[in-house]
Symmetry: none
Subunit: 130 residues, 4 copies
DNA sequence: GTGGTCTAGACCACA
DNA sequence: GTGGTCTAGACCACT
């Protein structure tokens, strides 16, 4: 699975990394219980700092995406994620809110916005089914 | 129009402020050409520093939501925002992508996700039509 | 002679006004010794503050474009402006410098830049000759 | 590359700084992808506040001259600036207009004015070719 | 009274 | 050590 880091982006590198791993899990390119590269080798591959990879792994562990074993390295959580709860929906809501607001100002109508979401679901889910 | 700032949140205060003003514009609670409070008075009302308000106003000016007249204060841009272009859609896409990915992991299906978006459009647009 | 003020511009209103009067003199639309509107009437016409017009007139007086008589109002200086001296050239140089620098960065070549200057001379001088 | 700030001047310090960096890029004294000093060190060198340097850097980032990497500091944009578009020419036109007008009043003829522009192009471009 | 600029000093996230 | 953010207090140009 290819990971691409763009250090110029506003989003922190560790977040970019975590997001791409999450996407890998979502699409199935990273299977449950699959081993992830070691912190050291991934850092070397991506040309970033050890601490940065570590931070991403720890974040993902805390969120339940990974299990991190001290010596064995990190694996994708073998059990599925806990399903979305009220808090997750609220977080999603708060994140979407300003995006929808700005979209309305820019005359993006509801259907257009939904089309964008659908296309993302398509893109990510169909990879999973292949 | 009521604005509420939560200094505890991770999102910078000036971003919270800017987002709420954008939402005000989206819903029509802030009409085109409407005058906004001066940086000083708004800062005092919100209990934050005037530079923070200033930063929010300048961001919104740069994005085209506001016009800042040197001595008259800020007004909502009397002309509608430039419609969404390719870049805006791309930005939206990049923002939505990790949200959709995580949602898939948490077993939020497409319909559920779209429902959330629709409810936000409802909430914001119906205010506008009242 | 028509004067148009744009309060949204970054340039102060009094500067906009002064510049347009200078342009009027350059093009001959304002003849030597011609009377200018009173501070009061011009301010009313343009919908701006008395002080602002006053400031513009005083600036132009100080620079030698106008003569301001206490009761008779302002007139265009009946004698031609003092010719450009070393200081004026230096000021011009300092103003042009960053414009040329940025133009180089944006791949505006010298000929293109000169063409722009020529077209401005054309525009302003030919009015004078009509 | 030497930078000199004059706090007495009417032009804001951050603008003076930004202009000199732009000139550095135009002349090639600042090469694409070259690293700039950190805001702190440059501020110390110039004897100004780090926020002032920050403002200059952010302005240049926004205009596309620099890239600011969160933890690595600022670099000159490795890709050339977007070429001048209609808006840039219009901005240039508006800036040149009052300069040409005043020059006409001061009996600076077209050739004299163009000579000044040419000399600036000479000065800046020939540095580049060395 | 308005925003623009500058200074100063502080804390934080990131690498 | 880097930039990002926030606060505080000051002066200035403009209206």
């Amino acid at each position: 699975m290819l990971i691409h880091i763009n250090p110029q982006l506003e989003t922190p590198i560790y977040t970019q990394l975590a997001n791409q791993i999450i996407e890998g899990i979502a699409t199935g390119r990273l299977a449950p219980a699959e081993e992830l590269p070691s912190v050291r080798s991934l850092a070397a591959d991506l040309g970033i700092n050890l601490h940065t990879v570590n931070k991403a792994y720890n974040y993902l562990k805390q969120e339940g995406f990974l299990q991190v074993h001290r010596q064995k390295g990190a694996i994708v959580s073998p059990t599925p994620m806990p399903a979305a709860d009220e808090f997750y929906y609220q977080k999603l809501h708060e994140q979407l809110r300003p995006m929808v607001a700005e979209s309305i100002c820019r005359q993006v109508d509801e259907e257009e916005f939904l089309k964008l979401c659908r296309s993302l679901y398509q893109e990510l889910v169909t990879q999973k089914e292949e």
